[in-house]
Every structure is written in C-alpha cells, then in structure tokens.
Amino acid sequence: MTQSFDTIVIGGGPGGYVAAIRCTQLGLKTAVIERENMGGICLNWGCIPTKALLRSSEIWHLLHRLKEFGFEADNPRFNFGAIIQRSRKVAAQLSNGVKFLMKKHKVTVIDGEAKFSAPGQLTVTHKGATAQATAKSIIIATGARARELPHLKADGTLIWTYREAMVAEALPKRLLVIGSGAIGIEFASFYRTLGSEVTVVEVMDRVLPVEDEEISQLAAKAFIKQGMTLMLGASVEALEPKGQTVSARIKLKDGKIENQEFDRAILAIGITGNTETLALDKAGIKTDRGHIVINEWCETGVPGHYAIGDVAGAPWLAHKAMHEGVLAAERIAGVKGLHPMDVSKIPGCTYCWPQVASVGLTEAKAKAAGHKVKVGRFPFIGNGKAIALGDSEGLVKTVFDADTGELLGAHMIGAEVTELIQGYGIARTLEATEADLMATIFPHPTLSEMMHEAVLDAYGKALHI
C-alpha cells in the first residue's frame, strides 16, 4: 500500500512535530513518521526530563539552606528512585500531549522507521511489516544521538550516555563526566548537588566553551566551590570497565598521564546525527561529519527535500529545531517575505546551578568580527531581588556595537537567567538599540532590573553600582 502526502516529516521530535503542525496550518496534507516516541529526544530523553531532575536537585539544595530562611527540619532525605520516576512521568505526560496536538492539527502519524527508496519516496518498516509513502516535499528531522569515539564508547552499565544517566538506579559515588557542554554540565550539576563526587574532564581550557569567557570563569568558580573537580585542557585517553568500576586514563594539560577510578562515567562529548539508516544516498542527499548539509533555508540541495534540527547540525537545541521546522514548512508552502535562519538570534541555556544563558556574540567573537564594542556588567550582589531570594552570585553582561548601539550579545550566569534571556532575544529581533533598552521601565524588584543596569553600565550610566 502506498500513502501519498503533500509533505512527510521524518521524525516526531520538536523539529518534526512543529514542522508538521505548521504544514497543516498552511493547508498541506502532512504525515509524521516516528519510530519511537512522539516528542523525540527533547520530551523523552533531553530537555524536559533533565529539567525535572534538576528541579529535584534544586529543591535538595534549598533544603540544606532551610535555616537561612527561618525553617527547621530534621534529617532531610531523598529517594533517588522517586526523583527518576517523577522525571519519567513528566516526560510521558508531555509525549502524550504531542500525540494530542497531532490529532488536533490533523497530522497523520505513521509509526515506523522511514528509509528513502528514491527522492520523495519512503519505505516505512514497523514491527516487521513494510509500507510505502510518497510526498512532494520531505522534511528530515531524525535528530541525533550521543557521539562516541573509538576509545570512548558507552556500555550502558558503567559508561553512560545521557540516556542511562537519566534513568540511573542509584546515585554513583564517584562520577566522571567527559565534556563540559550543556549536557555534561547539567548532569554534573545534578549529581554533584545530590552528593556524588563529580569530576569533569574538558579538552578546552574552560567549561561551557561556547559561552563568553568571563561567564565560563564564573561558572568554573561556582562549580569548584560546590566541590566539583574540573580537569581543564585535559582529555580522557582510555576508559576501561573493571567489574563494578571504570578506570580512566586521563591526559592532563601538561601532558602527564593520570589513572583514576570511578563508579560511573558519562560521555557528553557532543552528538552525531541520525543519518545512517535513512539510505540518504537513494535521494542524493549529502552528509558531512555525521550531519545533513543544508543552506540557511534548511534546503538539502535536492528539490523539495529539507533537513532541520539536530540532524542538520549545531547548535543542537530544541528551539532551533522548532524554528527551522516553521521555516521549512513556510518555505514549502511558498510563504513570502521569509528570513533565513540567523544563528546569532538563537539563545542558549544551561540549567545547571548557577544557570547560564546567552544570545548573540561573545565579547571575543564581537571583537574578532571587527566590532568596536562597549561592554556592560552588572553583578547579582547589586540587585535587591537577588539578595531577597538568597541568590546573590552571578553576572549579567552586555556587548554593544560602539558605533550603532546594536546589542551584539548578552551573557548571564545566576539564578533564573534562563527565564530572563528572552528579553534580550526580543531586543535583538526587534533591533532595539541601547537607547530603547535604557528607555524601558523594568519592574522593581526583579532580577530583570539587572538587564537594565547591564545596558546602562555599557554607557557608564549604571545606577546601583
């Protein structure tokens, strides 16, 4: 049996399901093919369940500070299994929510694994049975999985990827986290807060290497204070499971080799696109280092064939996948006046403690791009709400083009900054200048006042510092 559609989306993650909704809104007859769970990594194994876990560790952290806020409680304890269970429940609730959205928007959901037989033609395999599906346009949104290297491979028991790290049966005593990007640092933060001894090994000479250097330094300081061990400029040369422990051979910054024992290790050294089982060659679609090659309109170069989200390369973020999903759908429907994907408008958030959030260029990148910059800073310690909350560590930093007043980038570390960054995102999208940001009245007392002050500071006008 062959089913035919205007558009088929392969993969029901945030990229894929959003693309499908937008396609049906635009009047296209649309199907999503999903081999596992609607909602993809994001809802089932990524963004959402990790945030549920981190919420638990945040509460645990606060429980240790009860006295500070005037409470007393004896012996707070946690049930690790219950923490994991809550995270799974949250994921399941949202995955069901996506199924409902598909129904509501009249998107046909096809269960199974899709594979190209020719451009515009797919074979779908489900529980041993195969079916054919064809479409005028195809959006590939098959996502990605944890990257492994020949000498760094997960075994699912002692050496984990994020999947196992998210459903652990018990708290490991000594945990090695390889890689200090968002995923690595979020797990490091979660396990450290609950009491594991955490060592983070990072090849670059700073943690969260895509963030502004100043923010990386502040993050490192906070993590060290929490008792994490950071090995920067270092790399794990070999990982060997030994019964109940893992032995790691770590090459330090100075070239020396150190052998250490851990109970568990998490690989967080990046991700690689799910391209292999698609038979992309049958459609003539090209890949480069594990990702489908696209232009700024998500086009693969094969007419009518688009790729979005993690499978199409960095930054590997759900909101980037969703934005590309809308863009690809509108491109297919011939919507006029579209703007191509602008990477500098994609905010990045890490939900560790303290949180980190940013949008646009770092100070170093702005200078490298030839901008004369004005930089503003405002520390949490100068903000009334931060002190009232008991979260007085952190920084808000702005980078402006000195000539035009364009907000080139904003970088924050501290409590709730992931909820704040969108303000600067809107400013960038609307092309606000420093004058508009200065003229905005920010409510008092809020953490957002720091965003105002960091703008004022760039022009030597900060009031509370």
Binding site: A369, G370, K372, D403, T404, T433
Partner: protein
C-alpha cells in the same frame, strides 16, 4: 531624524540609527522585515558601507589614514564584510595547542585586506583571461632608452619592464573604455582617465598606490612616479588620495619567477592584471622553432561590468602595445 521622512516609517530603531548616521533617507528604503518593516539589513543593502566598523562618524572616507589599509575605501563592496572576513568554520585555534604557534594580532591593514578581498571574491563574479606577450622588442627599446638616460639629477630615470606595462595598461584602458569602469548598484561609471594602481608588497602587507591619468604621462615620468610612490609606501608616507580609488590595478610577481597567477579585483576597479615573469621560451614562428622572451599576463574581470569578448579586446590592445612598444609613443 531626517527631515524628508516626516510620514510614519515602519523601521527598527537600529535601522533608523544606521540610516541617520550614514545620511540615508529611511523612507526610501524597502523593508524586508515582518509587515514590510525596515530592518538593519535593508539599510545596509541600500548604502555602500563605510570602510571599517569603528569609523562610522567619519565624514568622508577620503580622510582615512594610511593605516586604514591599502585598498580603496570609497566604495567598499559588501555590507557584511566585517563578519565574513572572519574565518568560516571553527576558530583555527581549536586545532592546535597554544605552544605550537605564535599569535600575531591583526593590524588594521590585515583586517582591511581580509575584509575587502573576502567581499570582492564573494560578490564579484570574477572570470579570467590569459595571454602571452613577446617582450623582445620592448627589452631592446628599454635598453636603448636607458642607455640615453641622464644618470644623475632630476631628469635621471631607469625604465623597468613594469613601467612599460603601466603605460600599456593605461593606453589599453583608453582604447577599450568598457574595462575602465566601476560598478555601482544603479549604473556603470565609465572613467575618463586611466588611474592605474600598482600593487606594492610591504613587510606588513600590501598597498596599491595609483599613477593618476597615466595615459597622458611619458615613460620616464611614470617610472619616477612609481619609484617615488613605492618608496613612500614602504615608509608609510602615502597620503590616502595616493592609494584610494584608481580605475585599474596591476599586480606583478614576475620578479619572484612566478609564471602565471590570478589576482583578486579591488573595487572600485573592474579588473586587475596579474603579470608573470618574462622568460625565454621556445615559440613556433613560420613553422620553425625559435626563441623569444615571453611574459604571460592574466586579466581578472568583473563580469557585471564587461563580458568576455570585451576583456579579450582589451588584452589584444595591451599585447599590441607591449609587442610593438613604439606605438605607445604615438
């Protein structure tokens, strides 16, 4: 805000500010943002940008100092030059350990070269035409003239092959004026004089001083002028007016033994001539192998400004002057 735009214009604050800074009437700009809103990109596309981020308030690019870099500032070609001069792909530092290299920060000349030539390669549809020229007659004339030259005093000169090339280019530009042109978004500018830039390699970069109105200058004058410009370029003593603009450029790498190469056009030019070494090569003349001094030149052409046959006519004219150098004296 500009007096002209009294009606309500739907534009972003940043677009308004950049338009005001560059003296552009925002009401004249077509918006590409949501609901036709004028955004930064639209304004940047509507004006030729200034030579360099950080110089926005400067009234006129001609005031740029020499440290601005060698290439003509007045009509830098592309809006996003600053971004695109940055390396595409990951920072090269990621591939090496800090001990394995020394880091040399960019000076303004390096930045300017990177920015303008990146924009040129990206935005100008280059095509290339190559031709061989026999130099024997020119070498003989050059030896004869140099023998007659006063050795001292203000009238002294020593002609180089390059001086003849400058002159031949200037005359070819007048003969085939389509090449002696500049591209703008709305029109071609056909130049009345041949202002020929001569690329000079410096320890710290590259600069292209200009022999203005070269078509009317004698060989001895050209020779003295090129030498003076090159000396002062090396001493960083050129005035901006001496290296900005120009209608054409020559890049000669013959002295390094380079036989043939391709050069990148420097806007506002529409072409650049890459000159290789003159060398003895076997040639077939009247069915027999003979020896001749041959120089290969390659013209990089802006296809927006003139097409292949025109470029070929220009090279024919140039070859004619070089191979029969007395015709340059006419």
């Amino acid at each position: 805000m500009n007096a002209i735009s009294t009606g309500r214009v739907f534009a972003s604050p940043l677009a308004r500010r950049i338009a005001a800074q560059r003296g552009l009437d925002i009401a004249q700009v077509t918006g590409s943002g949501p609901g036709g809103r004028v955004v930064k990109l639209d304004v940047e596309n509507a004006i030729p940008p200034l030579p360099k981020a950080g110089e926005v308030s400067r009234p006129h690019p001609k005031e740029a100092g020499m440290t601005e870099g060698s290439l003509p500032a007045a009509t830098a070609p592309a809006p996003k030059a600053a971004e695109s001069a940055a390396a595409p792909g990951p920072d090269a530092r990621l591939y090496f350990t800090k001990e394995a290299y020394t880091e040399i920060p960019h000076d303004s000349m390096r930045k300017s070269i990177a920015k303008r030539l990146t924009a040129s390669k990206r935005d100008i549809p280059h095509y290339y035409l190559q031709i061989d020229c026999e130099l024997d007659a020119l070498m003989k004339l050059r030896a004869d003239l140099n023998a007659k030259a006063p050795k001292d005093g203000p009238a002294a000169f020593k002609l180089s092959v390059n001086d003849f090339i400058v002159k031949a280019c200037a005359l070819a530009l007048i003969r085939v004026p389509e090449v002696n042109s500049s591209w703008t978004e709305t029109a071609l500018l056909r130049h009345k004089h041949a202002d020929v830039g001569v690329a000079v390699a410096l320890d710290f970069g590259l600069i292209t001083p200009i022999v203005a109105k070269a078509e009317g200058k004698g060989l001895a004058d050209i020779s003295r002028e090129v030498k003076d410009l090159a000396d002062r370029a090396k001493a960083k003593k050129l005035k901006p007016s001496e290296f900005e603009g120009g209608t054409f450029a020559i890049s000669n790498l013959g002295m390094f033994g380079i036989k043939d190469f391709t050069a990148v056009i420097n806007p506002p030019h529409a072409a650049i001539l890459a000159v290789g070494a003159g060398e003895q090569r076997p040639v077939v003349k009247n069915g027999a192998v003979a020896q001749a001094t041959i120089m290969t030149v390659r013209l990089s052409c802006d296809h927006r400004v003139f097409d292949g046959a025109t470029g070929a006519r220009w090279l024919q004219a140039f070859k004619g002057f070089i191979e029969d150098p007395l015709t340059m004296m006419l």
